[in-house]
Point group: D2
């Protein structure tokens, strides 16, 4: 077993989504949520949050089907990519190189499927741009600040946990287990927040949601009002509310293609090495929504589909190894 990583993953860096109508997506993400459009052409929109100095953290590609192409991680330096390739190859996991320039605004990239089949990519370099943090005259909608995390449904959370903690160097901030001691869900981080990557027990691999960090709770409420005024009330799926897990104040939205985005604010720093992972019992009512609200069925049942890094075919789904129970899967 490899449990000493020879590379450094910095943080979740971007999500690449396929969407069917770029103009509709622009209205939702730029006018509704307040993301900054760094650049676009007829087939792509590159979006970032107000705090971000990286070129983009969300890439929307025009396509026939609304799927998820890849989840991207930024690493510290170029050589880390080679080390990561060695690791994935040694474990028999599929990889693929993309040369610098092959993807706009980012350097040499390693794509790979992780232990659950999730399509990941790693790169050390992304074009930097001006931070818009103090351009308050450009603040709109939810005033999205920066990418926070992604959350995937996988059939075997323990297996995913072991891969990310033992091989990729992630730490665990909080987790849920069943009365039998089985790991039900886990919140894992590289950057010093509650998570970059969460896993929940469910059919998968699927993307449950990707999340952006906001400055405060009122930005979440403002976003609800604005989306409703724009005719997007149906996009508001769950919340606003307070998570027990992570303590964050949250709102779940469905974008025009059905991809789920979480607006998220108010977790805590995890930079202290003596911080112990916080255990939650699957049956603790505070674990789910701290205020006791139930999530709607569609939050529970619907996810986005990943595609293969080589074939672009939709990835096959496996059933979870732990029996699904609605109240327990809430995050």
């Amino acid at each position: 077993m490899v449990n000493r990583v020879d590379f450094s993953i910095i943080r979740i860096a971007r999500t690449v989504l396929h969407v069917v109508d770029l103009q509709v997506s622009r209205e939702f993400y730029v006018d509704g949520l307040g993301m900054i459009e760094t650049e676009s052409d007829e087939n792509h929109i590159y979006l970032r949050g107000l705090e971000e100095h990286s070129h983009h953290s969300l890439l929307l590609k025009k396509a026939d089907n609304a799927v998820v192409e890849v989840l991207s991680y930024k690493v510290e330096k170029e050589e880390d990519l080679d080390e990561i390739e060695k690791l994935f190859t040694s474990l028999g996991l599929q990889t693929k190189w993309m040369a610098k320039g092959q993807q706009h605004a980012i350097g040499r990239t390693l794509r790979a499927h992780d232990i659950s089949g999730i399509p990941l990519e790693f790169f050390a370099e992304m074009t930097t741009v001006d931070r818009m943090l103090q351009r308050y005259d450009h603040y709109r909608g939810a005033k999205i600040q920066r990418i926070d995390h992604v959350n995937c449904s996988v059939p075997n959370v323990q297996k995913a946990y072991d891969f990310y903690v033992d091989y990729l160097g992630f730490s665990c901030s909080e987790y849920t287990d069943t009365e039998d001691g089985d790991l039900w869900a886990a919140w894992l981080y590289r950057k010093p927040t509650v998570h970059d990557q969460a896993f929940m027990n469910g059919p998968g691999p699927n993307l449950h949601h990707f999340a952006y960090s906001l400055t405060d709770r009122l930005s979440v409420l403002d976003c609800c009002d604005i989306l409703a005024s724009m005719g997007y009330a149906e996009s508001i799926e769950r919340g606003p509310g307070r998570h027990g897990l992570s303590n964050a104040f949250f709102l779940y939205l469905r974008d025009p293609d059905g991809h789920r985005i979480e607006l998220y604010t108010g977790d805590y720093l995890t930079s202290d090495p003596d911080l112990k992972p916080k255990r939650w019992d699957l049956n603790d009512p505070l674990r789910q929504t701290f205020w006791g609200h139930e999530a709607p069925d569609r939050w529970f049942n619907e996810t986005s589909t990943f595609i293969d890094i080589e074939t672009n075919e939709e990835i096959g789904i496996c059933n979870p190894i732990l029996e699904q129970r609605k109240p327990e899967i809430l995050a």
Copy 2:
């Protein structure tokens, strides 16, 4: 028909509730919601909001059953009480006088059942106390500011509307009607806000909820967090959310006896005489929760029972004249 009132009702002034355990109620209303306890004895707690200079706006009486004794209106002057008695008597409605001193901290009082059977009381005088508005060191919980309105379920909204507008001098800010032009719900005011009194089509007369005005939306969110920390997550029934009707940001809570209280902030001034009542179509999705959330069944089905001003017996309930439809009764 009398359509010229010879008296002036100022505003909704208090709610008198029967509760089974004063100490439990105190924890909820004082520690959780942040009301100020003006005074109490072993059978009563007198509560007010931070802005209120009147002795109390909520009177809790220890009793065996959790019912609503009366809804109270403040009038401009003593003689108004006599005029109101004349009106009620002329319409064959039951009345009852209570001498000054018979109820703690308030003057001579007229009790009466309104046209729907709701037990009301009218008085011109209540002991005044210091406003706590600038005692920020006493702010707690939801930082409740002042009583805002009461909302009753009645079988015939049109009849209630006519009585309050034509006989009692109320104005209408907003209302809902059906596709057939039947009045489904109405928001009526004396003080220059959206309402003192709302009526909704339903079995009745019943008290659906009473409501307090807060300074801002974060006070609502803070209250959810605080109640959940105190073990009262189950008290959070509906919201937080934004109303289409009234535009207010809201939260519905159930107190330890099941009485429903709304925390309410962000409606608008109605002091302009040329303000036209705003009509909402029963099928307009924005009318209900502006963000598109559904209300839970218990919000729809459960109300508090009124008692008779003479016998203290529970008041009999009639079915509504318009067919009930869940999505439409949301407020």
Copy 3:
């Protein structure tokens, strides 16, 4: 003495300002403060707040000098205008009629100089427009809701107070007097808030500021950030802070012509007839900024000049009858 008014003034309704560059003013008021531009032509911009159903509450007129043309009050009905004319004429005060249509979007108007020489106007009718309250997608800047009050510097506050209370039917919510019992400043209202009109001891008559009501404190802070981003940091004159008087959270800005506007939120309802005026001692430190900050000199010394209703000449200024003391005139 007349102390029974035969007319009803509803509220402060608009301010008419002369400005030298309409495009610069638009940038400040629309982009910076978030006012809605109802209409404009090459010489006028008509602005309103998000809650307002009246055509405008701020009229900017292109002119060579930045002065104040008139402060406008809305009355209940047409006949009130004739009663008000009788009153002003009986007191020897100058008046002038403007026919309906002579001013865009408002009805027949009576202009007059009040007892201190302030140019006022009264009208019953203004074109109504859609309230933008629920068009959250149009919210910008400070999200200005509605006109709140005007504040004038006058040489004799007692004389102004007597005129507004005894002849025009205003009530007093709060006031300041000196150790000798002289009235230093007064907050007077018709609509049920702390004030429509305030008077402070000083050279005058001058307009010290006009004020708009916001929904919450964060809108004030957001406005500071936005103005600073736009290059308007120098417009931020005083605050944000909390007033002792009125309890409002405030910010004073200077518009591109030097007119002072206050953003104001968090006072209280004054609709209860048994509310007693609150006295503040001139030497009470809480009276001024509740947090103890001093106002800058320019807030103290600079005001806007009124012009004559007939000649459009600048109105002559008298020195105050009470000796000016900087700390005491803060509002």
Copy 4:
């Protein structure tokens, strides 16, 4: 020159202040600011923020003079302490060991004077306690979350910068230099926020202020209201306002002994290794208060005095090497 550190400093961990009256300090820090009192005895109060799982981040010791005993840094592991001792000794800097148990709730500690003479201490271990993050029923005052940074006035900022960056492994997020390229002020971090330690050109070494992180801007405003209600308006020294540097929303308070504490919220993550230090020109007006307010003289001129780690004598002060200019030293 050593520029490869063989130890890892985690973050600023605590401030140890001498105060003359513990009960007065408790009222200020616990009732006013909302800190949690972990423990106390007749000569000590141990305080922490709501998010902190460490025993305390502020230690108040009863003493005759209000001075600063030490600024504390947490390191990753015990052996780091020995490496740090080697470094300090090799540079001829004074050190002192304190055995585990010698100070309540913390492990073996190395005390030392840094290159500017500031008394520091390093430890790897502090007793852990329950995080109060989700005990919203205990939230009070400013709802202080966690220690953020300390800011010292030193005579030679370049020398301090070199020591912290080259020897202690800090990174620079933002800095100010003069037109001649001299380093005027620097913001240095170990934990991934804008700073743990800032230096400003001035007489020193002195502690200018220590700072706590809050969740949002309203907590800052609430704190002003609460302190003013409690009679502490004079403690409010500067702000609330927005910093250009760091982007944080801030408030400076003076505690009952005159120590300066900053309430701070809204900076940004610095975990990306490709983040470049942001340069500010000493003459950029946005650099100081983003809204253009000037700091009062006492913010500029008054600081807290450090004492010697061996003798407890007050440390001698040197004049700054760069000429002091009031507007430029604002932070």
